[in-house]
Symmetry: D2
Subunit: 381 residues, 4 copies
């Protein structure tokens, strides 16, 4: 049975460009998807690099002009894997051209861009998705399932951290291809949009809306050389951000992110304490879910370390055998598998732009709170 | 060589009364202390219970009137192990009677009491100590030593939690002998004074003063039966408290405590991230210190799990052999060993009342911040 | 720059057929290999399944007759992913046809087959490789590197386990596609050839030859239904095998494998104790290496948990960013990357058939020892 | 209510003398025991040291002649805490004098001594106990309870290690007060009697008799200076010992001990795999029991880490509050508590001399097997 071809255009050949390309290559070997994805074109700033990327990843062509991708009648899906300051313009153009869109997170530089993006994709009626990939770590998906089944009971606490240490040295520059995440113009914010956005997306998916926040941010290193200009410039992003919040369900939230936590590379963790059970997870051992069930008999009650590799675990029937783990990149494969399935049904995939807007509202309230040093109410998406 | 006898009067025969009594019994077997402690008298509310306690722990006499302990000329040291609302009155009387004092934490019900207590002990010139015992877990003392040696470099983050789950059931009463910690009149506050006070004491000892705080508290169960009256009454304490803060050295703090974290009994944890190294610890495996040293060669760099049992570790030359751990109660033995040594030199032992007042100021600012929903500056001790 | 095409013929479309196919697909996206692998043909027992596999994995054709693969002039490399009883015949035919060969482990049903296979591939001069894939887990490769650098000093102990629990139920059949590993005719042995062979291969690679062994085996469930015949037949394989051994370097070995260790799915672990340092690893958290260095300063000495994800770790410069882990299947990608590089240089890749013969000698001695209940000397390869 | 006094005579003031003395001091504060133990006399080689020990631990007198302890009519219980070569003579004399006896492990230098000891204590009808203290770690006692309740089902595997690293240096002497454990004359054997005896005692208590063994021993450092003579002498003990065995219930055993496992101080571990559940424990985190229950629902099935501190855990109602752990020395307190209770009922306490003889038979078979390089049947006690 020959499947319908689905033509993919990728904009951005950096780290995320690689994860998305890999996902399209692999999905067909492991999932029964309704399309045959075809990597048509990759677009990037430097022609030679775009060409090399196309060769390595099997794109049929390359370009340095993203408009060509968006305007190409042959393209069905636009993948947006560029710095945050370009998301809005590209996504809006793609939506107006009728493309399905998969956009990297965070959705936009700021709330006004994000609101516009939601408006346009919804008017255009194009399927859309924002790549908050950590939802699709099997252990994280399992956590959501356990919560939805009511196993935790009433939730009291939600705690999440995303800790890194790669910018401690004052020699790390800002701006440019490798370090645009430190440049306020390209990134919009620091750890808030880059890392806390992930935590917030997962948290609201699992635990519902956040209603108000109180945040503290810090920029430990005040000036860094800009990679493009070579000049030392003030650093505009938040190096660290911690915030308190309330969820709509009455539970309390505590979120922290930093790039100055020596010893942690990408330590995204969350813990949820409910009346009946608790759950904890961390990205450094992403295939394990910790689970404490108070209904266990008391003398054998303890935190369970669930090795999420059995075939009855989310997505895991597609991979290997029990005990053998998958890794980071597989989250994108799961995302594409779900995206293609929904696409065949004309639907968006969660988290879509509107859900990502809700996360953007929280990020916005967090940054405002930190600036004004007071509690902020979160706008409803 | 016969040692000078030191006569001890204990007020309060609850959980803490047991830990203090045990410490006096054991210290002489393991430490070369300058006194022979003699357990003279125990005081408590119920005569039969005080008598039974005296028999079990070898006190020569018992009483139900604490004034008799304080006024007894024969008593050298008064140990205050009663609910928080009695600390000030007893401590002040003991100081005026010229007794050395070891007071359970938190120092007082509130700042004004605590200030008066500091004033009186300092005027009286009596050696004093507040029993923040966790400083003297060998792994915690080692952490302090590593920080003082400059191994962490500039500190960026201090994170501490104290998580319990024993009050989740609405059937737990407030007030009375077993549950006075839930009664605002006896305890002054909930987790803030009971648990966060420990975290704050350790944090300021390791990382210097806290300058300002922003807190959120919650009382999940609004009414509980009072154990003494049998009536359902409003709950006045904080069930949970989270706060952000700045330290004087520019680092950021994040503290959380709750009695609604299902699965955790007494999970006091801290983590300190410095430019050069990081440290983490938790009370559930109190003999381990986690340490990450960035100066390690990159291919063998990782978090080290230090099993703090060797004889070159703090206090550990007094106990058994490498690999064999000690437990919770030993922190009180260490405290008494230090207290007796200082006493012989006419000195107070850290943390003394003045240091505990600094912690009280932070607790006060935390509770005020939570009430007013804004940042509060911490008063300097 | 167009690369030379390399035509691959796969024999066997089971679990291992999938891992090998995946490796060939992915290697070009991540490694700069000297060939363009082309998946030409897959061979398997059931025509419809072979066809479906070919479609899913992009093989150009399929067949049910392995001779056609071996005899196809167009094929450069033969991948042998069938049950152990077919390895010898196919490998020998492939070698005689001048094909490069990648054979699944264990090399053969028994020593005499294995010796013949070595003889033929060496006479034919064809590049050969046996797929002991766990050598190429980055943490395992790093362990080898640390040993080779002399960091452990003189080795005293080597301990390895491979624990599973999937055959505890008496209802699991023997024989057939899914459970041929329980059929003595297809597998040659039980856990010894299936699981201990991995441990032995890694151990001798890291720690040198094993000289003598003393083993104990057990078959807990004596009869199982045969999946093909439907008849209950005696079980001929070893369900569990433990053995003691000496290494040529004077260290002691302790190896255990079982499929009756409730709670463990694929818990391959090893620990090596040297005079100066020790190393430990387990497959369930395969990206971590535990390392203890006695030369660390005593107060900060502890087992280090090395998260093997940085770009200076073996193979890890090819994948994502620090902190993000890869999984099981990547070991096969690494294997293929090394295989292709060596192929371009006309060389075999370690472990080649001769090295795998050494492992077969140990397995043989182990089984003989268990049968005879005495120590056995291991034949030298 | 005044309790009957029980007069204790301690022979040996080393490491074990301290643990036993501490246990007698503490037991009355925490357990409701039927006697008031009185530390009457301590006996040791060096008069000044015996005197200092008596002062530190509150013994009323001291002596250098153990006969005086045994012959003292005033003494009710003799505690034997001297090197192994003195156990038999003292225990036999004490039994003949009608004393209750608590003897350190291993029971004796060898089987013939041990058999004689059993004969004499049984003829004398004196209560007797051998101090295999690890049975009384609460987590280990809990493990026994879970097994006895049938929670594990049929047992397949028993695995135990006892790993240390304190004799790796060739400079460690043999003989003398501190290092008699390396002197074959004083110790009888090396790790087999010192460490494996613990593992064997626990194993047979939990899993029943061991029927036959096959062992390998090694002495890595062949000569060491003798601490008393100053001469370099051959080392007669086993530095390392590993053995395979069968239990009477059909399960397989794998035991290993060494003093050359760099990075481990006192890592006694065991794991038991049953049809329905598995259990694991290690001494370095002695308050935790790992438990895997296959009957858990599959998506939340995992190893549970049971923090054995709640008041419904063995012995734990006597100590502090949930979450707060006890340590190594408490095992001896538990032992004394049980011993005193049984004494009041005229009974021996498990493990008594006869049970310890069974362990001695296994140790003997292990050493014989290692010497003869063949399987040995274990004599039945």
């Amino acid at each position: 049975m020959t499947k319908k071809k689905l033509n993919i255009g990728l904009i951005g050949y950096g780290f995320m460009g690689r994860t998305h390309s890999n996902a399209y290559h692999r999905v067909k070997n492991f999932f029964d998807v309704p399309y045959e994805p075809v990597l048509q074109v990759v677009c990037g700033l430097v022609e030679a690099e775009a060409k090399a990327f196309a060769e390595q990843w099997g794109y049929k062509s390359h370009t340095t002009d993203w408009h060509k991708v968006v305007e190409d009648e042959n393209i069905d899906v636009v993948e947006i894997c560029v710095p945050n300051n370009l998301h809005a313009e590209i996504a809006i153009a793609a939506a107006k051209a009728g493309k399905a869109i998969c956009c990297e997170k965070p959705l936009a530089l700021n709330v006004s861009e994000a609101e516009e993006m939601v408006k346009v994709v919804e008017e255009a009626g194009v399927p859309n998705l924002v790549s908050f990939n950590y939802r699709r770590v099997p252990a994280v998906t399992l956590a959501k399932q356990l919560i939805d089944e009511g196993r935790l009971g009433k939730i009291f606490h939600y705690r999440a951290n995303f800790l890194q240490d790669w910018t401690i040295s004052a020699k790390v520059p800002q701006g440019g291809m490798a370090t645009w995440r430190l440049d306020i113009k390209a990134a919009g914010s620091g750890v808030t949009g880059d890392l806390l956005a992930h935590c917030i997306d997962t948290a609201m998916w699992q635990n519902g809306p956040i209603t108000d926040v109180c945040a503290m941010t810090e920029t430990f290193i005040k000036e860094r050389m800009h990679a493009e200009t070579g000049k030392v410039e003030p650093v505009g992003i938040d190096d660290a951000c911690t915030f308190l919040c309330h969820f709509d369900n009455g539970s309390l939230g505590n979120f922290e992110s930093t790039r100055y936590a020596r010893g942690h590379k990408a330590l995204y963790t969350f813990e949820i304490n409910g009346e009946k059970a608790s759950i904890a997870w961390d990205l450094h051992d992403l295939h394990r879910l910790s689970y404490f069930d108070h209904s266990d008999e008391s003398i054998v009650r303890g935190w369970r370390s669930i090795h999420v590799t059995d075939s009855d675990m989310p997505y895991m029937d597609k991979w290997w055998v029990p005990g053998l783990q998958i890794g980071y990149e597989h989250t994108f494969v799961h995302q594409v598998a779900d995206f293609l399935q929904n696409l065949a049904e004309g639907k968006s995939t969660s988290p879509d732009f509107r859900e990502a807007l809700a996360t953007q509202y929280v990020c916005d309230a967090v940054l405002t709170s930190a600036k004004n040093k007071k509690w902020e109410t979160v706008k409803k998406a």
